[in-house]
């Protein structure tokens, strides 16, 4: 990894770090920005399996829920700090990912079958946690209210969580760049292009797909722990199929892949903002209008521009840059 690769991440992080100040720490806007960062991080993690390896994974909510329940249960029962609970949740998510992923790759499930197996895993976990009364159960389990504690990471406002997620996003983006520059990144891209060809050329397809899945599951499990801290309670509906779908939709529209590392947060920012504007203005009369928008944008992008919006951004960026340098040249 070279310093040049890290520059754009630095620029993004610095810009995002000042955003809460620009909205004057207004609680509503900070919460909105927090959710945008939350989904940006999820989509960036999803990019490892969905973008690099080309597997349409719909199990994000499984890992989020497992991360949330692990962190939360350790905290409620044993008073354990989330600083340990969050990575522990990540590890539980990895264990589940291997449990489902190993046989899935071993038996060669691909494409639609992989998507169906993963989305089924979300429903299975949701129902199991609903029945498992000693940990889950149909009632919310609230986290202890140690507000203002850095040890317990519990805060009244959303600003601290915003910065926690910002750090997580930065780490996830660095991880993306690192994988792209590594041997694993090239192997994954080969698998995405043509699995049989990659196998013939000596790539251990199963091993690298599983590695990508485990990386993604770990990050997603950790984000799940942070999600539980923000929402403040545990409930089986944390295993929600809509979250899985939303992550995949943002990933596909953003053009997930090696070239889309920065396009994904940008796409999330744009789509989530538009959907939130729709929800807050028209949502009262037309419930679900913001979700209709998700369906429409996904279909339009897939039918008209199946490779996603990543190219569009770089074209746009190039045009602006070109116009600026031209002008500057004229003045000089």
């Amino acid at each position: 990894m070279r310093v040049r690769d890290l520059k754009p991440i630095g620029v993004i992080v610095v810009i995002l770090a000042f955003l809460p100040a620009i909205v004057r720490f207004n609680n509503y806007y900070v919460l909105l920005l927090t959710w945008i960062l939350y989904y940006s991080t999820l989509v960036s993690a999803w990019n490892i399996i969905g973008g690099f390896a080309g597997q349409l994974d719909l199990a994000a909510a499984s890992y989020i829920g497992l991360g949330a329940y692990t962190m939360g249960t350790l905290m409620i029962r044993y008073g354990l700090t989330p600083w340990i609970g969050i990575p522990a949740g990540g590890l539980v998510a990895v264990a589940f990912a291997v449990l489902v992923g190993y046989p899935t790759f071993r038996f060669g499930l691909r494409e639609a079958w992989y998507a169906l197996a993963t989305i089924s895993s979300v429903v299975v976990l949701q129902k199991l946690f609903l029945v498992w009364e000693s940990v889950g159960g149909p009632e919310e389990r609230y986290l202890p209210p140690y507000y203002g504690s850095i040890y317990y990471l519990r805060f009244r406002g959303y600003t601290p969580y915003y910065y926690i997620l910002l750090a997580t996003l930065a780490l996830t983006l660095i991880l993306n760049v690192k994988i792209r520059r590594s041997k694993m990144g090239y192997y994954l891209l080969a698998i995405k292009e043509n699995e049989e060809a990659a196998e013939i050329l000596g790539v251990d397809v199963r091993k690298y797909k599983l590695k990508a899945l485990m990386t993604y599951a770990f990050v997603t499990g950790c984000i799940g722990g942070i999600f539980a801290l923000i929402s403040g309670y545990l409930h089986p509906h944390h295993f929600g199929t809509w979250t899985s779908l939303q992550v995949a939709i943002l990933g596909i529209v953003g053009g997930a892949g090696a070239g889309a590392i920065f396009s994904l947060p940008v796409t999330t920012f744009i789509i989530y903002s538009i959907s939130e504007v729709l929800r807050s203005t028209l949502g009262g009369w037309i419930p679900g209008i913001h979700l209709i928008f998700y369906g429409v944008i996904l279909m339009v992008v897939v039918l008209l521009k199946p490779e996603g919006l990543a190219e569009t951004y770089s074209e746009f960026y190039g045009r602006i840059k070109g116009a600026l340098t031209k002008k500057a040249g004229g003045i000089v």
């Binding site: 080309g54 349409l56 489902v100 046989p103 899935t104 071993r106 038996f107 060669g108 499930l109 691909r110 494409e111 639609a112 079958w113 998507a115 169906l116 197996a117 989305i119 089924s120 895993s121 429903v123 299975v124 976990l125 949701q126 129902k127 199991l128 609903l130 029945v131 199929t241 779908l245 995949a248 939709i249 596909i252 037309i286 419930p287 679900g288 209008i289 979700l291 209709i292 998700y294 369906g295 429409v296 944008i297 996904l298 279909m299 897939v302 039918l303 199946p306």
Partner: protein, 287 residues
């Protein structure tokens, strides 16, 4: 306990027939054009709403609306085929999944926007009451639904094996290119298969509504159940679909009897993942 088991098994077998009918449309579409339609469950949900509204405004029993809803849904299927499916047939699978997921999200939330979240059940239905067979009580609505399911499956089987269009559909399913060389208009067959699949959904929805309510979220369960059955059946024809539906119904009945009804979906999807691993070509598949 024995009586409860018996009652649940009868319910499970009746529901299994209905599951099979709902999955039949998907099996037909998947078999003929190899398309992966994630919006199938949402089609069922929309059809159920259609049954509700037609029954309400024309003041006819829900079961009779199947005669109206099935043709409407045939046309609906053709329209969806022209607008969406025709563009993605034969393209790379990720685009197919993505486009139909988009359709699923769109339909589910359009239904939410138009009809709100509260569940709606038929106001007027003739299929009421139940028959007692010893200790077992059989609701007439479910019995009729199961009977209609089997009749529809027999009709489709006859259509696929005895008529010219049916044979052409099966030829397309077996080998698209060879069928095209023999002068079969493959695109037309795709449209017919998609419309026919949707018409079957229309019939199923009318009879499901006689014993169930509908809400915008109902599609998820029906979609996943249909996928389980299609995977179990493989490309094994109509009988494979029926047997898979019955297996699913019986598994559900056993689960409800011996464990927790709330976990029935968990057991069914675990079974689904297991079958995907062990028999990805299905239990009754030909290839």
């Amino acid at each position: 306990m024995l009586e409860l088991l018996l009652q649940n098994l009868v319910n499970g077998i009746l529901m299994g027939c209905v599951y099979a009918l709902v999955a039949l449309g998907l099996a037909l579409q998947f078999g003929v054009m190899d398309i992966i339609n994630f919006a199938h469950g949402e089609f069922v949900m929309i059809a159920m709403y259609l049954v509700y509204w037609i029954s309400l405004y024309l003041v006819i029993p829900g079961s009779v609306t199947s005669l109206i809803v099935a043709p409407i849904f045939f046309v609906f299927g053709l329209v969806v085929y022209k607008l969406v499916i025709d563009r993605i047939v034969g393209t790379y699978p990720l685009a197919q999944i993505a486009a139909t997921i988009g359709l699923m999200v769109l339909l589910r939330n359009l239904a939410l926007a138009a009809w709100r979240a509260q569940p709606r059940g038929l106001k007027y239905e003739v299929l009421r009451g139940s028959i007692s067979l010893g200790p077992v009580v059989v609701p007439i609505s479910r019995l009729t639904a199961a009977g209609v399911s089997i009749a529809t499956m027999l009709a489709l089987h006859w259509f696929l094996t005895k008529t010219r269009i049916g044979l052409a559909l099966r030829a397309t399913s077996d080998d698209m290119q060879a069928a095209a060389l023999l002068g079969i208009n493959v695109r037309k067959m795709f449209a017919v298969a998609f419309g026919l699949g949707c018409a079957i959904i229309g019939i199923a929805a009318a009879f499901i509504m006689t014993f169930q309510q509908v809400n915008p979220e109902a599609g998820l369960t029906w979609g996943l159940i249909s996928w389980i059955i299609v995977v179990m059946a493989g490309l094994g024809g109509v009988s494979g679909v029926l047997f898979s539906g019955l297996i699913l119904g019986v598994v559900e009945a056993l689960e409800i009897t011996f464990w927790d009804p709330r976990a029935s979906l968990a057991v069914m999807y675990s079974l689904f993942i297991l079958i995907l691993w062990v028999r990805p070509r299905g239990l009754f598949g030909r290839r």
